[in-house]
Every structure is written in C-alpha cells, then in structure tokens.
C-alpha cells in the first residue's frame, strides 16, 4: 500500500473518537506540540471537551492559540475555534509545571502541614522535583491522570518530554517507587541509638563517601529529605500504579510523531517497537513537514540548460525562465522522493494503523488559521 493511500479520510478521527487519552511521542523538534494542538482543535469540533498539555511550548504556539500571555500551568480555554455551538466542543490548553505538580502530590500524601513544610523547603527535594531524571515524565503522567479525572474534560492530549526512550514515559511513575525501594533509602532510615537519624545515617560508610564527594551540607539535606518523606511511600506508590494503569488503558492511544528524515524516523520506529513490546501498540503515526507534491507530471528530458536527470524523451522546452521552473520542480520532487523513501520503515512497522503525512507549509504557524491548514491534512 502506498503511503498516501493510508491517509484514509477520517482514520485519525477514529483515533480521536475512540480515545480518552492521546499521548504524542517522538524525538525533539519534530512538531509534537503542534500536532497535539491540531488534534485538540479537531476533537473540540467533534464535540469533545479536550485539554491539551504541552511540555515546552514555543511562544509562537501560544500566540497561534491566541494566548499572547503564554500558556499557564492551569488550563485556559481557547476561543475562536469556530466550534459549532450545537456540537458544544471545547478546547483548553496548559503547560506542564513539573515542580508544582510534584508539590501537589506531596500535599496530597503528607500527614500534616509540618511534614509538607519540611519536604517542600528541603533542597534535595527541590532538586528532585525540578531535575531528577524521569521526574518530568512522571509529572506529565501524573498531570494526565489528574486531568482525566477532571469533570471539565473528556479527552486529554499530552505531548511527551523529548526523551530518547518511549518507556521513560510509560515507566515514569515507577521511577520514584524504585528510587525509594533502593537499599540506600533504607540505610538512610536506619534507627540509631542516639535517635538522631541524620547523624546516625551520615556515619554509614556509604554516606561518608558520598559526603566526601558532594560535601556534608548537601548530604545532610539529602538525608533530611528521606526522613521527612518517611510514611508517604505507600501513598505515592499506589498513585503511581493508578497512573500506569491509565497509560495502559484501552482508551489511551499512543501517536508516534516524526519528521521525514532518517534520524527521526529511526527514533520513531524504535518508539513504536518499544510500545509494541509493552503491549501498548501505536494508534497512528504522523509525519510532519513533508515536502508537498505538486502534481503528477513528469519532467522533460531536455530543459534547455543542465537540469535534473529525467526519463521522458523527445520533449524540448525553451531554456531560461522555464528551465529554471523545471529545475525548481525537479529539486522539490527530489526532496519529496527522498523523504518518502526515508519514512518507509515507519510505514511498514505501524501498518495497519493510519499514517498521516502533513505537508511543509509555505508559511509558518502563527495563528489559528495556519493550525487549521495543518488540521485539514490530518483530518481530511
């Protein structure tokens, strides 16, 4: 089957209709955020109450959505989509705030205000909430879970952090659990005769060594965090299990996004394999910024001055301006052909899931109109 043939009308729409959660994954710079926004627009027009969560939105996208003050960490409603009032769909957009989401989890699971304060003001915790590897993915999944249970919305579309590994996202909720499971945590929690756990733990050889490397202040902060966190592990772990269950739910769809270049296609194929291995499967693939086709005409053999090699004999066209136009067409076709060849592996792997090729536009995306241009190709 040809690639173009797979862009069956409405097939992306089927994915939207049968999903409560859509996760867009792919490597950095392939247009995941734009894709998520376009899916959100279409879903709203179908009558869904959709919220789009983005990780690292460019200012330009916020502008395009009419949010000139930028996206905020709570959902904002997007106006001017032209949703049929009888249909009643809504689109909301928000930006992931990793640290604030983590703080919210701590507040939910802590026993009292004193514990909340001790944790939130701890430097090790602040580092962890802001930067520990996997935290961003974990909080994206957590946010997704919270929005899924929010009555205002019936569809959540999320773009994932630009990690190399699809499993980083799928496994993210387990990151903290595993971290807390480490023996090191248990060591830090060992009661000591003095009752002063911080000093007791710091005397363990392992912590002495860590202290030598990172300094004793930093070590003391870390141990204080582990102690303050004590008692919350179970709550965190149960919540993480819920989030994982949602990611694997039947009405959660994973959409792989790529650009038509060998490197991002290789990544997309890798993502798709990983999802498959996890029994999740790819609901659709979207390739952004494909060089458009300009029609099914063949190049003449002689265009007057040196031009691309072509196979139609016997046609002679005047040189000069027309030759330049033929050369232009030839160059654009050459790029398109190279791109179509590059995305073959993704086409083969994701079959029979729909694959949509979105064309490179002749302008950039700066308003709802240009997002609409993309939408028309995704939802023909």
């Amino acid at each position: 089957m040809t690639v173009d043939g797979r862009v069956a009308a409405g097939s992306m729409r089927d994915v939207v209709e049968r999903s409560d959660v859509i996760v867009c994954c792919g490597s950095g710079g392939v247009g995941k955020t734009t894709t998520a926004a376009v899916i959100g627009m279409d879903a709203a027009r179908l009558g869904r109450r959709v919220v789009v969560v983005t990780i690292d939105p460019a200012k330009r996208l916020a502008d395009a959505l009419g949010l000139s003050a930028g996206l905020s960490s709570s959902p904002q409603r997007i106006d001017g989509l032209g949703v049929d009032p009888g249909v009643g769909g809504e689109m909301w957009a928000m930006m992931l705030d990793t640290a604030a989401t983590f703080d919210g989890l701590v507040r939910t699971h802590a026993d009292d205000d004193e514990q909340i304060d001790r944790i939130l003001s701890n430097r090790f915790y602040r580092n962890m909430a802001g930067a520990m590897s996997g935290t961003q993915e974990y909080m994206a999944a957590e946010t997704l879970h919270a929005l899924h249970n929010d009555d205002r919305f019936d569809l959540v579309v999320v773009d994932t952090p630009p990690s190399r590994n699809a499993l980083d996202f799928l496994d993210a909720p387990g990151v903290l659990s595993r971290f807390l499971d480490h023996r090191i945590f248990k060591l830090a929690m060992l009661p000591t005769r003095s009752g002063l756990k911080v000093f007791g733990a710091a005397a363990q050889p392992i912590f002495k060594t860590i202290g030598k490397v990172v300094g004793s202040d930093v070590l003391a902060d870390s141990l204080a965090f582990f102690q303050a966190f004590s008692g919350m592990e179970t709550g965190f772990r149960e919540r993480a299990d819920d989030v994982v269950a949602l990611l694997r739910a039947e009405r959660t769809s994973f959409v792989v996004v790529a650009s038509p270049r060998h490197d991002t296609i290789t990544e997309a194929v890798w993502f798709a394999h990983q999802l498959d291995d996890q029994g999740v499967g790819v609901a659709a693939a979207i390739v952004n910024r494909v060089q458009p086709a300009f029609g099914e005409i063949e190049m003449p053999a002689d265009i007057g001055v040196e031009g691309p090699e072509v196979e139609v004999p016997g046609v002679v066209v005047p040189g000069g301006a027309v030759a330049a136009l033929w050369r232009n067409l030839g160059e654009l076709q050459q790029i398109r052909n190279a791109e179509l060849a590059a995305l073959e592996p993704l086409v083969a792997l994701t079959e029979p899931a729909p694959i949509a090729l979105l064309p490179l536009l002749d302008g950039d995306i700066h308003d709802l109109g240009s997002l609409d241009q993309v939408a028309q190709h995704l939802f023909p």
């Binding site: 490597s27 950095g28 710079g29 392939v30 460019a58 200012k59 330009r60 090790f124 580092n127 520990m132 590897s133 630009p162 990690s163 190399r164 971290f179 480490h182 023996r183 090191i184 945590f185 060591l187 050889p205 392992i206 060594t209 860590i210 030598k212 490397v213 990172v214 300094g215 202040d217 930093v218 070590l219 902060d221 870390s222 270049r261 060998h262 490197d263 458009p292 300009f294 029609g295 005409i297 066209v317 005047p318 000069g320 301006a321 027309v322 330049a324 136009l325 050369r327 232009n328 067409l329 160059e331 654009l332 050459q334 790029i335 190279a338 590059a342 002749d362 302008g363 950039d364 700066h366």
Partner: protein, 302 residues
C-alpha cells in the same frame, strides 16, 4: 557572513556545538570537525549521550587525524565515584540508586564530570581542536551552567575543584567557545537568540558565529512576472503550467520566510553567521559531510 568561516568556527581549543533537537547540531559538528581535520588539525569529536551517530558520519579518511569518543553523563559519574572510593563500599548496594541519589543531591554533578573530561582532553596536548556535540536533550545553558551551580552548593572536596577547573575553562575565550546551530525559521531563530543571551549572561562563555543549517541555496527562480510570460510563451499544457507555477510560488514563499528569519537573526544577535546549504536528501551521510566540509574550506579561502 564571517570572513573566514572555518577559522571563526574553530577559534578556540574546545568548541561546544549547541542547538535544539532537529536543527542539525550533529551534522554541523561533523562538518566542522571534518573541515578542521582536512585543514591539517588533529581533531577530537566528543559525542554526549544519545545514540552514537558521529562514527557513521565521520569515518576514517586517509591523512586526516580525526577521533570520535562517546561520553555519557551517568557513566562518567559512575566512573568518577568509583575513582573516589565508592567502589569499595558499593558492592552490595544498587549502583543506580547511589548514582541517582548523588545526581539528585548535587544536580549538574554529572555534567561537571563530563566537562571535566573535556578539559582533560583539551589539556592532553594530543589534539589541536576538540569539538563537543552538545547534550541530546539540548539544554546547552543547563549543561554549561552546571559548574556554576555546583560551585555554589559544594564548598570543598574533589567535585568542587573539578567545578572550579571547568569554570576556568569556560571563562577563557582562547580555550573554549560555544557555536549555536539554528534553522532559517521563525521559532528556531527566536530560541537561538534567547539561548545566546542566556549563555552570555549566565555562563559568560565566548560565542562563535551562529551556524544556520539547511539554507535553501538551490536553483534561482525568475521573478513572478517573468514566470507568467515564459510559461505562456512555452505553450505548455495548462496542468503543467499550474504545477510549475505552484512549485515556484511555494519555493518563493519558503525562501521569503528564510530570508526574514535570517535578517531577524542578524538584527537580534550581533554575531557572525555561517550558512550551510540544504541538500535534497532526507538525512546526510558521510559523503555529504565531506562535501559540506569542502565547501566550508573553499569559502574560507584555505
């Protein structure tokens, strides 16, 4: 345009190539390294994290001294800890756990350890030029800021002295500079301008010229009026005329967009610009890198 692009791109011992995902940072790294090696320099390329791509783009070529090494932040941190007395006591503990904990307790420690290795290579005297392909997730500022953050948090010990060494490296313009890579499009240009100012203010690292990757330097197009006249005179089929005209219109507006982005970059950033042309392919291979390196050398008149 810089007068001698190759010289200005390789004007320090260490060149850190930085840019967001998808802008072609790795291919630009490869082109700079290849061109420098071809000009007789002993070049080391350092690839950080991510999937190794540079081995394939930079195969051995006769008469050129070019080496590729991979450094991964977690591995570098583990090695560092092992060298500092961790191995003896860690046997029965979960290694990743300790590494996660150290990495979280002192964020940026893995980046500092990596930059410390870069400094070691620079000091070894074995290379005339070290080119670093920036971290995969592309946060050049965080990566280069790591030493500043650690120096604030950690008051003494081996990590502190390593952070100090790294800060020294970053502050010396003859030893180290950053080259930003972007695309001739609105959003990448906006982000590059922001990153450049952040690097200058927060890190204080010297900035080399900005490399604009994928600039359309293909066939020249006639003016729209000439297009119409020529197409009428050519007596072509209507369908063909439409296709030719549409393709020309499309390319012209893409180019106008590129020009607008390049102009805004020039106004927004008082740095040199080096352009690399777009090739009609879906990803560069080693031969393409050679070709672009030769063009860079030719432009540099050497």
């Amino acid at each position: 345009m810089s007068e001698n692009p190759l010289r200005s791109l390789t004007a320090a011992n260490v060149v850190v190539v930085a840019g967001k995902g998808g802008v072609g940072k790795t291919t630009v790294t490869a082109v700079i390294a290849r061109a420098a090696a071809r000009s007789g320099q002993r070049v080391l390329v350092i690839e950080l994290d991510g999937k190794p791509a540079l081995d394939e783009l930079l195969p051995d070529r006769d008469g050129e001294a070019l080496t590729v090494v991979h450094l991964s932040a977690p591995d570098a941190l583990e090695e560092y800890l092992n060298d500092h007395g961790f191995r003896r006591i860690a046997k029965r503990l979960n290694r990743t756990g300790v590494i996660d904990m150290v990495g979280t307790a002192a964020p940026g420690i893995d980046d500092v350890v990596v930059l410390g290795k870069v400094k070691q290579y620079e000091k070894s005297g074995e290379y005339d030029l070290v080119v670093v392909d920036g971290p995969a997730a592309g946060h050049a500022v965080t990566f280069l800021m790591s030493a500043t953050g650690l120096a604030d948090a950690v008051r003494g010990g081996p990590i502190r002295s390593q952070a100090d060494d790294v800060l020294e490296l970053l502050a010396e313009p003859e030893r180290c500079m950053a080259v930003l890579v972007t695309l001739p499009e609105t959003t990448p240009v906006n982000e590059t301008i922001e990153t450049a100012f952040a690097l200058e203010e927060d890190v204080g690292i010297r900035l080399g010229p900005v490399v604009v990757n994928g600039v359309d330097q293909g066939t020249d197009l006639p003016a729209p009026d000439d297009v119409d006249a020529a197409l009428q005179a050519a007596e072509l089929d209507h369908a063909v005329i439409d296709v030719l005209r549409d393709a020309a219109t499309f390319r012209r507006s893409r180019r106008a967009m590129e020009r607008e982005a390049l102009d805004r970059l020039a106004v927004g950033l008082p740095l040199g610009q080096v352009q690399m042309r777009a090739l009609p392919v879906a990803g560069l291979d080693a031969d393409d890198i050679d070709a672009l390196a030769d063009e860079l050398i030719a432009e540099s008149g050497s």
